[in-house]
């Protein structure tokens, strides 16, 4: 157990290091770092001072270690646009994104388990075919277009829901959330739905495939031969086996949800990390982009670790040993 965690920890650190090298060379190596890091409106004297302060007159490897050292102490630079440390800027936007991402994940799970099970257990029925065809379409619709169509339908034409923004928030456990005000919830519905659709589709397909495969397995037939009620066979024997790949995928998809939240946040002007990233790209606010990449990498690595532990908890065949990759 300890050996496994140690190994995974070393792997995670290796990934983070690799990302830091790639990002460093992407931002500092390609092109002129002075051009990238010094605000264009700075005067000549300010430029010189900044170059000196940022250590841009030092050799490249020296610069990298300075960057790394700063990053390790939680200093990834200061935003040109906002004039505040980028780490705190991004972390300030984190609750809004997490709210969206977590709510979408829950929505996807709640919707996809019954749909997927139904489609997998009755593969030849008409509703099942309908569900499966729906997944191909849901999977095909680009996220941004889906979001726009939701706005067009529910906000512009029907006028039921607000078009954009986060609405009224209240503090809960020290974090601002829109979950406890009616206005906040109204604003949450469409972005959550939009972000949840691709994951729902993916999970429906996974669960349906898993369920239809499980029904042909001997252990399900054996359970039937034991006289186990159908309800229990589905809930305990089939679902339990399907959960393993589903949890893994949900974990992996957490990363893409954070990534896709950039699109959803852009469409719905949701003030999260993703919107910040896009705005920073427009405004050439490079330190924010760099910090965003480093922080999301940290997030992915952490989530992957959690998924591995969950996976081992769900599947008795997997032992958390150094041998697993």
């Amino acid at each position: 157990m300890t050996a496994y965690f140690l190994q995974r920890l070393i792997q995670s650190i290796a990934v983070l290091l690799a990302v830091s090298v790639v990002v460093f060379f992407a931002v500092y190596g390609i092109g002129d770092p002075i051009e990238l890091l010094v605000p264009p409106q700075a005067s000549a004297a300010e430029r010189l001072a900044l170059i000196k302060r940022l250590g841009l007159d030092q050799p490249v490897w020296h610069q990298y270690f300075t960057f790394l050292g700063n990053a390790l102490s939680g200093n990834l630079g200061t935003s040109f646009v906002h004039g505040v440390p980028v780490v705190s800027l991004i972390l300030g936007r984190l609750p809004a994104t997490l709210e969206l991402v977590l709510l979408s994940m829950i929505t996807a799970a709640v919707v996809s388990v019954p749909l997927g099970l139904y489609a997998g257990l009755n593969p030849d029925s008409r509703p099942a075919r309908f569900i499966m065809a729906g997944t191909v379409i849901g999977f095909s619709l680009p996220s941004f277009w889906k979001g726009m169509m939701l706005v067009l339908l529910f906000s512009v034409w029907l006028g039921w829901l607000p078009t954009a923004g986060r609405g009224e928030t209240v503090a809960f456990l020290g974090l601002q959330t829109s979950l406890f005000t009616w206005d906040g919830l109204e604003h949450l519905i469409l972005p959550t739905l939009n972000l949840a659709i691709p994951n729902t589709v993916l999970m429906v397909r996974l669960i349906a495939a898993g369920a239809s495969e499980a029904t042909t397995q001997d252990y399900v037939k054996f359970a039937r031969a034991k006289g186990i009620p159908r309800r229990r066979i589905v809930n305990r024997h089939i679902l339990r086996n399907i959960l393993i790949p589903v949890v893994t995928v949900v974990g992996i998809e957490f990363g893409s949800l954070v990534a896709f939240s950039t699109i959803t946040e852009t469409v719905f002007s949701w003030p999260g990390m993703g919107k910040l990233l896009i705005d920073s790209i427009y405004q050439l606010d490079r330190p924010v982009v760099v910090a965003y990449v480093m922080l999301t990498t940290l997030l992915f690595v952490g989530v992957n670790l959690i998924v591995d532990v969950l996976y081992a908890a769900l599947d008795p065949r997997v032992k958390l040993s150094g041998g697993m990759t």
């Binding site: 397995q217 001997d218 252990y219 037939k221 054996f222 359970a223 039937r224 031969a225 034991k226 006289g227 186990i228 009620p229 159908r230 229990r232 305990r236 024997h237 339990r240 086996n241 393993i244 769900l314 599947d315 008795p316 065949r317």
Partner: protein, 331 residues
């Protein structure tokens, strides 16, 4: 004769886009209380489908289309799904062929035993554990209390099959249908399990339908035997009679190709050709394309049921007792 189980004219088909193919094509079977019947045949002969048809565990595209399955006087073909569920694992238990895949890999042995009990009667937790421990001990699994908390992957194949047999015994069924339960195991474990099953059946008075392709098992285990070919029972009767004086050329062929009957240095007999595919069965007698006793009428007429003593067979040109011992029928 009516027994515990009386199958009459059972016909189970599998639907394909091109039509329906009969995997089981008019099978009659009778098992008395406490009796061991071996159902013998090559793979694809329909013997497993027969076993699953009895408890109606036939899924689409399969369908039972004809016949009666009288269990203790009641026709299971008319039973409701809930009646069937209450019957399965309770009065008729099953053991499957591959012990590696019959147990759910993500549930403990204890849970898989407990659910088999609670599906049929309400029971206290302590009593469930006690019964499970007893069942595991009975099939020869050491330290059963510890084993209950373990998962299937922590057991060897032979041990898993013992667990499956223990589960089958939990509710003291009247009948156990065992679908080639020892085929996937190696020979020493196979004979241990055979010995124990025989002992248990005798102790508890449980009848057994043992499906196998191995005549050595039949010789060891069976009270009576039914030989199946291309979805039909071609010969049946008391095990001693059928093994000593087979009347159907197919039974004779199986006997000759069984390792138990061959002397060292002698060449193992092989029945020519393969069993006909389900969608390409010959007319008349289905065995005629591989039979060395084939006569003109075989292609025309499906052979009628004949009886000699307690032995029943379907053949136009049955084997005589002399030909078995002299070996004149060897090709």
């Amino acid at each position: 004769m009516t027994g515990l189980l009386d199958v009459r004219g059972l016909r189970t088909v599998f639907h394909a886009p091109e039509g329906a193919w009969a995997a089981v094509d008019g099978v009659d079977l009778t098992i008395g209380r406490g009796e061991v019947l071996c159902l013998v045949g090559e793979s694809g002969s329909g013997k497993s489908v027969t076993g699953f048809s009895i408890v109606r565990l036939i899924d689409p595209p399969g369908e039972i289309v004809e016949g009666e399955i009288l269990f203790d006087g009641a026709d299971l073909r008319r039973a409701s799904q809930e009646d069937l569920r209450a019957l399965r694992g309770n009065r008729i238990a099953m053991v499957f062929q591959d012990p590696l895949s019959t147990l759910n890999p993500v549930l403990t042995i204890g849970e898989q035993m407990a659910e088999a009990i609670t599906a049929h009667r309400s029971c206290s937790k302590a009593q469930i554990t006690e019964e499970s421990v007893r069942a595991l001990a009975r099939v020869g699994i050491p330290s059963p209390e510890v084993r209950l908390r373990q998962y299937p992957h922590e057991f060897s194949g032979g041990m898993r099959q013992r667990v499956a047999i223990a589960i089958a015994l939990l509710n003291s069924p009247d009948l156990i249908i065992a679908d080639e339960p020892t085929t996937a195991l190696d020979v020493t474990i196979q004979s241990q399990i055979l010995y124990e099953v025989q002992k248990l059946a005798r102790e508890t008075g449980t009848a057994i339908l043992w499906i196998t392709h191995d005549l050595a098992i039949v010789a060891e285990l069976a009270d009576r035997v039914a030989v199946m070919y291309a979805g039909q029972i071609v010969e049946s009767g008391p095990a001693d009679d059928v093994l000593d004086r087979p009347r159907h050329p197919y039974t004779l062929g199986l006997l000759k190709s069984s390792t138990g009957t061959v002397q060292p240095g002698e060449r193992l007999h092989q029945i020519d050709g393969n069993a006909p595919r389900i969608d390409a069965r010959p007319s008349g007698c289905p065995f005629r394309t591989r039979c060395d006793r084939v006569v003109a009428v075989c292609a025309e007429v499906y052979p009628a049921r004949q009886q000699a003593g307690e032995q029943i067979f379907r053949c136009h040109n049955p084997v005589t007792s002399a030909s078995v011992t002299s070996g004149e029928d060897l090709p």
